[in-house]
Symmetry: C2
Subunit: 306 residues, 2 copies
Amino acid sequence: MKTPITLAKAGEDRIVSEVTRGLSRRPDVVVGPGDDCAVVKSATRGHFDLLKCDAVVEGVHFLPDAPPQAIGWKSACRAVSDIAAMGGWPLFALVTVVARPRQSLDWLREVYRGLDRAARRHRFSIVGGETSRTADEAPAVISVSMAGRVEKNRCLLRSGAHPGDRLFVTGRLGGSRAGWHLRFQPRLDEARWLVKNFRPTAMIDLSDGLAKDLPRLAHASRAGFDIDLGALPRRRGASIAQALGDGEDFELLFTIPQKSATRLERAWKGRFPKLDLTAVGRITPAGRGDPESLLGSGGWDHFAGR
Amino acid sequence: MKTPITLAKAGEDRIVSEVTRGLSRRPDVVVGPGDDCAVVKSATRGHFDLLKCDAVVEGVHFLPDAPPQAIGWKSACRAVSDIAAMGGWPLFALVTVVARPRQSLDWLREVYRGLDRAARRHRFSIVGGETSRTADEAPAVISVSMAGRVEKNRCLLRSGAHPGDRLFVTGRLGGSRAGWHLRFQPRLDEARWLVKNFRPTAMIDLSDGLAKDLPRLAHASRAGFDIDLGALPRRRGASIAQALGDGEDFELLFTIPQKSATRLERAWKGRFPKLDLTAVGRITPAGRGDPESLLGSGGWDHFAGR
């Protein structure tokens, strides 16, 4: 008898690609599982609707003693970050909280306060809430699903990068677990400004670390990449390995044609003087670049737990 | 120092009403938290969009040895049942699976097979999948969020019932845990037929048992109710208490003006000869009827675990 393959052994990308393969698909689905969000036809002329769900698990994405408002903020902002990475904006959110019977009502109230803070900041509404109990000692889970919208001609997939495009990253990477992962600002305003004023070719939000997310973008674009590890913008005290592999940076990684790069860098400094924008490399033809060496250096895999 | 109120003590309805009170709300939200689904303005002329999320937890909603296809079927069909209860139809679903690292890839594949079976049967698409790990011994959680649509003039809330309206229930109640809860058929076709051919005034799906769900409908409609316990359609072997309190029937409970009741009963027999439709009572003015006695007899409360 063969030993069954566990989820830890299969790893996240294989899991998603295997289980979603062959699913039935309505003709109004534009992009199914595999990008930051699903894209579906919208009745709003010239627009697509965006759909995303994302869960945080106690002990994995936050510690039991994390401030509950921060847990709520994080669960909502993770989904906002994915919607931003498509070039869109959030509209509605549904929240599922799975909690222990002995958890306090105050804890849950605070989680919702954090969720609502994110909703006010990013102008979406929490339209549904569901709570379900779990076992007495089991970790709490907060799952947020979000609907958003984007103009068709501004919708950015992972798959549009071309050889020669420059690679940019916002903010600084690594060391997120020291606090940033609970209080990060999803780059929604920045992403909207970018798609309104430039023509980036592909975008992804850095949730699992550049070492995992850049190869995903390149793979989706059937391309390779060259990256200048020395140029990586690092959070204070973070090593290159941490900038590559820690994950939960929730910064944007995007590609843009070489000819727009200089204009972008100048305009960015004027518009977002406090937020770094760093050129970290370029897209190459497929087979060039070296995804394996980056992958070897880390990236967070939820099931492997590293 | 006051003892903090636990979720188990607060109970489900109080939890939802307390934590969702005061949430910010966009002007395009028609119905926020508290009904079977959220209702938001749709760009599709004459329609509303429906949004719903719902989670199943191992050990609470299914046992560890439940067939994984049935777990998938159940998690999707619970949300379909809520969309049906609004008079609408499902379009898109997002799935979050929280699982143990050592859970097998085959288990997850089978869960997705069950989800896809529900998608094909009820003509929606699974457009996004997310998996996250949990602790080694923690229960698995499957959360499904769903977007649907309904014609504005057919959208049915819990709150539209009037004194004098007749109360009807589809199918048979009680004893769901013997198997029905894993293989139930959400009453989507029946609900659509109903809103197309009649003018029901309020509807809810029976997920927590008539003893909890009927008072919710009456409360939302600021009304009372009289119920004929002897008339309750019971699953073979189920007592009246079980029909009231077991929950997970996923049948429809709806109200319709007295003058349409006879025509409805006749038309239903012709259209759905194999599915019972039973008149179980009527709506009364508020303060009449006896919600407390029903509530005393049970109804599933997820946090209390009964």
